[in-house]
Symmetry: C2
């Protein structure tokens, strides 16, 4: 039995507690200052997680941030950071302050860090911020939190430059329904995990742009959706490589696989649906997405800093990226021009 | 203006006539002996294609098989074979008989050829059967015929060992809505184009196996679908390589891209939906698919000959392929065991 400390009790941090507890481990689930209400509900007997609509296994001990102490860090065999990208600074600060011996830390958090008119992945930036992080393990793959908490099967990738840390975490976390592949490409997994939110905006626009009025209500043309799904994977491969990862990582769980579920639903996809209807980002963010964080839009802003100011990448190779950036940064209609698709196949 | 001869007036042969005619070419669309009724309808003024529900452009001349003569072959700058896999022998016979000078031939037809307890792609077998085939060009990618005929945008790959033939065909066929990538990997494109029908059966089963009763009627869990979509791409890459193609081709238009639309609808997908409900192949083929050809099931039979008798491939690397083959060949329930997913990531 291991001791696993999870930082962040939102949907993803809480969901990943389920396979950990199902493996018999002792799991502490720590709420951020914004999670106080969630922790209070989980502490009641039979309490449901208000956003997952599920109870957590008995092996999960919910902890309010005020209850977190040095002993929890000292006991942890592994730490999982489960906050959203806007919570990363909180988590990194906590780890820097309390982690007083080497410990592997796995990150579900996805995003890109802007540094001096460039962008980097968390695999590049976080280890420098946390002294005792003995191994950075990036987690990617198709994993809607509510479905994981319901134990519906899925697959994910755990990636680190430290293969023994990856293997150890996979032994702790893998269950019959949560299937894990190891990878050495942490930078690529982190890059793709952030990029897929961004690309899901453009791909999902194809779910509303070409209504198929000859079919059932709500039906849409499927060729344009698949063509942009494929284009997104090609561009993710190019960006992944430019950010220091491996191209192939884009064509696996953290890229293509996670893009598949992200286009299937969620906030990035809903923003895309609005764009497909010809509406502007400001309209959609002011209406059905008012008050919500759309991580793909944050990623667009980070990428724009880099792609518009000297990434050295040929804009012709990234037509979908530029169309999404133009829509998000300049509040322009999303006008993807299919004539910009073409060029050599992946295996030319 | 070029002269393009299309063999087969079913949905795909007819749809691909649309971009060819939109480019101003003279297009002859020849029906197979089974297409007599289609050709008769197309010959009427304003006649609609009965299966596409669309009229074809004025530049398309429908021809009954009895009208086809040596002059049509002599005039053709390029020939496109648009029949289904069961029509391939007819088309190859016609080409062998009438093609009396070298001419490039492009194939939309998808399938695998069984040869001496092995399988080969049409890129391997067809050139040996047609003497004057100057270049074999394989066509792959997400392309629902009815959507192409409606000029909804999509992307495809044209692949041949003869790069100049590929480039020439792309110049003839590419339009603003039909975006084409060249590839040198004809074997890989042909392998993936056949395999995606087969894998769509297993992936589509995930659209019915895990109903999400907490959501809208008909909603299903999305993680298992994405996990098997990803698994299918991984296995296509391994099989593509074993058949003599490049792994990367599986992660592009002919593999992943076409798998995306094939899971979105059609006969292979409907067979998968039945399997996901726990029904057997014989039940589904005897009910909602009675009388229909399911190309992915034909591919399962071809693959089984090879994978069950000495392909040398590790069955553990192909759990989804074996689960589909067991369901189709042995009429067993489709019991995909997620514990068989895992192992190293694509970029390990």
């Amino acid at each position: 039995v291991a001791s696993i400390l999870i930082l962040g009790a939102g949907v993803m941090g809480s969901a990943i507690a389920v396979p950990a507890a199902d493996n018999g481990h002792s799991v502490r689930l720590v709420g951020t200052p914004l999670d106080a209400e969630i922790i209070a509900k989980l502490k009641r007997p039979g309490g449901l997680h208000p956003k997952l609509d599920a109870a957590l296994p008995a092996g999960v001990e919910p902890l309010a941030i005020e209850e977190l102490g040095p002993a929890h860090f000292a006991q942890a065999d592994a730490i999982v950071v489960g906050v959203s990208s806007r919570g990363l600074d909180w988590a990194a600060g906590l780890l820097s302050e309390h982690l007083d011996r080497p410990c592997p830390v796995a990150f579900v958090t996805k995003g890109l860090a802007v540094e001096q008119a460039g962008v980097k992945t968390y695999a590049d930036t976080v280890p420098a911020r946390v002294g005792n992080l003995s191994a950075f393990v990036g987690i990617g793959g198709p994993c809607i939190a509510r479905e994981l908490a319901n134990r519906w099967p899925t697959a994910s990738v755990y990636a680190s430059a430290d293969a023994s840390a990856t293997d150890a975490l996979i032994r702790l976390m893998q269950t019959d329904y949560y299937r894990l592949s190891p990878s050495g490409d942490a930078v690529g997994v982190e890059a793709c995990a952030a990029l897929k939110n961004f690309y899901a905006i453009g791909v999902s626009a194809m779910q509303t742009r070409f209504p198929d009025t000859g079919r059932a209500s709500g039906a849409h043309a499927k060729n344009p959706l698949a063509a942009l799904f494929n284009q997104a994977a090609r561009e993710m491969a190019a960006l992944c490589e430019a950010l220091g990862g491996k191209r192939e990582t884009a064509f696996d769980l953290a890229g293509m696989g996670d893009l598949h579920v992200t286009v299937g639903g969620g906030r990035n996809s809903r923003l895309g649906h609005g764009l497909g209807q010809g509406r502007r980002v400001s309209e959609v963010l002011g209406a059905e997405l008012a008050g919500e964080t759309v991580e793909g839009a944050d990623t667009a802003r980070a990428l724009a800093v880099w792609l518009r100011s000297g990434s050295g990448m040929d804009a012709k190779a990234l037509p979908l990226a530029h169309a999404i950036i133009d829509a998000v940064l300049d509040d322009r209609p999303f006008d993807f021009d299919f004539r910009r698709i073409g060029g050599p196949a992946v295996a030319a």
